[in-house]
């Protein structure tokens, strides 16, 4: 979990993506916001103190009711604003329900987390099937469960008409993925999830654009950016797997620096996942420790 910044100084950044979908970025994870005649659907709600700023930016785009919040996973920088946004959205609902959707493992994790998320922010409209779909603002919105990727409760959301995919922290360009092994994450699931995202994306002319991808953190991307990230995870996995076969210990593997050609690209002073942490998570995935 990243350290919380001074929220008073944070300015929301808004990037139009495509169709009815925007990306909003503050201090937590990216939010995907779909707007239209039905109202608003929000994917991930950042930290609670940013809810007023997030809502203010949404209101510049649309005055309709916030009918859905979808959580890609249970981490606080993606669900922290659920309750605050629900309270801010309430006056405009005019009797319509606000549904907070997440995979059932998100609800299970949040129910046990400390400090507890306020009840009105819990994703009680949970699903346990491989996917859940709904129609909002004239387009199909399909929520896919990606088992044991970043966590055990990840969802990837496809806005089929807008041709946009929101990935949560499965995809974090510019930073190594955080494989939350203690909460069901794994490198095998991460790779499978990235491959599924690549199945959902279709590029435009000259292999760029087309389906746009809103990552958990970082800039708006497309299929080509996801491919580079997926390849990095596979190659690092291959190297560590080979070292495990050669009976190297985790300390020996870390010393061998299997990520050294990716560190200059994926690691900065502010990075949440440092090379040793990524290596250790991959090692634990492969050895189930």
């Amino acid at each position: 979990m990243p350290q919380q910044p001074d929220f008073d100084k944070i300015q929301m950044q808004v990037q139009r993506v495509q169709g009815r979908v925007y990306m909003m970025t503050g201090a937590g994870g990216n939010s995907a916001v779909q707007v239209g005649g039905d109202g608003v659907l929000i994917v991930d709600t950042e930290f609670a103190p940013l809810a007023p700023k997030l809502m203010a930016e949404i209101r510049k785009l649309n005055q309709g009711p916030v009918l859905f919040i979808v959580n890609t996973h249970f981490h606080a920088d993606h669900v922290g604003g659920n309750a605050a946004l629900a309270r801010l959205a309430e006056p405009d609902l005019k009797g319509a329900p606000l549904k907070i959707i997440g995979h059932e493992n998100v609800l299970n994790r949040l129910a046990k987390s400390q400090p507890a998320l306020p009840v009105e922010g819990m994703p009680v409209d949970e699903y346990f099937t491989p996917f859940k779909d709904l129609r909002m603002n004239g387009e199909a919105v399909i929520i896919y469960h990606e088992p044991n990727a970043h966590t055990d409760g990840d969802s990837v959301i496809l806005f089929r008409g807008s041709d946009v995919v929101a990935t949560g922290d499965i995809f974090t360009p510019g930073g190594y993925p955080f494989l939350d092994i203690d909460h069901g994450g794994s490198v095998q699931g991460e790779i499978a999830a990235l491959d599924h995202i690549l199945d959902l994306t279709v590029p435009g002319h000259t292999q760029e654009g087309g389906t746009y991808v809103i990552p958990g953190h970082g800039r708006v991307c497309d299929e080509a950016d996801v491919v580079e990230f997926r390849d990095m995870v596979v190659i690092v996995r291959d190297r560590i797997q080979d070292m495990i076969k050669r009976k190297m210990t985790i300390e020996q593997i870390k010393a061998a620096r299997p990520t050294s050609d990716y560190d200059t690209e994926y690691v900065t002073a502010d990075s949440f996942v440092k090379p040793d942490q990524f290596v250790e998570a991959v090692y634990r995935s492969l050895t189930k420790r």
Partner: protein
């Protein structure tokens, strides 16, 4: 009388409609590439493990060493990938440059380039617009703006997707930017490219490429469709060589009888003075037997084997 004439002439000049600012130089037209520079790298392609002349760091070297060229066929998303904006003028492709004029003022607001290979298109804006913010998508060609420096156009490009410095796996990151200097001299155009990459380069990489005006050129379509043609051994397969296992890295020093350290590249290998430091090759040769007459009249594409000596 003379004073009245001067006054009249001055008033007449002031009353003429303002002339729109035109380009200092006209780059528009059809251009055919010239390959007298770096022909073996640009036409038949760079050898695996040849990083000479590129100011790479260790991260770039390991990426290159790990690269398996099967990746661009097995990973279907790479099959139709075009060059990055910094490489697109180096490849085997004709080019067309069009002037983009503001319809109201008829002022030049941009140059638009189109390459024949993979239909790469780039707009070079001259209207002073800012580059996009950090959250905007990156593209293969990047986002380019330019200013005139006399008759030379200075172009600055950001927002590039990850791509390559050389087609043998040497990477170029999405944090790189590049500057170009476009110089037209008669029917020739030379573009000098300077790439700055904080992730993979220890110094700016400068390269140049030239073109000749080719008014009769007609550029058609180049539409690529990707297809899975080879079975993957497993769904999550990405071809790569594990560190220390690439069997092809020594080939290039043996073929050209150069010390293997030379081929590892680095900043000092960019400069001619480096020749004085090169030691003896591990495997010397009596005579050249590869690409010996590359680019010569009887071997313009480097594909003809040398005559026996």
């Amino acid at each position: 009388m003379a004073r009245r004439f001067a006054l009249f002439a001055g008033l007449a000049l002031l009353s003429l409609p303002a002339m729109p600012v035109q380009a200092q130089v006209d780059f528009s037209g059809a251009w055919a590439p010239l390959f007298h520079e770096d022909l073996p790298e640009r036409i038949p392609g760079p050898e695996l493990g040849d990083y000479m002349g590129i100011p790479v760091n260790d991260a770039a070297r390991l990426r290159g060493d790990s690269y398996d060229a099967d990746r661009i066929s097995i990973v279907t998303e790479y099959q139709c990938r075009p060059h990055g904006g910094d490489y697109s003028m180096r490849g085997l492709s004709n080019m067309r440059i069009d002037a983009v004029l503001d319809p109201t003022t008829q002022q030049l607001v941009a140059w638009h380039t189109r390459m024949g290979f993979q239909e790469m298109e780039r707009t070079v804006w001259l209207d002073g617009r800012p580059h996009p913010g950090p959250l905007a998508p990156h593209t293969w060609q990047g986002f380019s703006t330019a200013t005139w420096d006399g008759n030379m156009l200075n172009v600055y490009t950001t927002h590039l997707k990850e791509s390559y410095l050389r087609r043998n796996g040497l990477p170029r990151s999405d944090k790189a930017t590049f500057t170009e200097h476009w110089v037209r001299h008669g029917n020739y155009l030379t573009v000098i490219t300077v790439i700055t990459d904080p992730v993979f380069l220890t110094a700016p990489l400068e390269r140049s490429q030239s073109w000749v005006s080719d008014p009769g050129q007609r550029m058609g379509r180049d539409v690529c469709e990707y297809n899975q043609e080879l079975p993957k051994p497993r769904p999550d397969y990405v071809p790569n060589h594990l560190p220390g296992t690439n069997p092809f890295l020594k080939e290039v020093s043996e073929w050209y009888a150069l010390p293997s350290a030379v081929m590892r590249g680095g900043e000092e290998t960019m400069y001619p003075e480096y020749r004085q430091k090169i030691g003896a090759p591990e495997k010397p040769k009596a005579a050249c037997d590869r690409y010996c007459n590359c680019g010569a009249q009887d071997n313009p594409t480097c594909l003809v084997a040398p005559r026996s000596r």
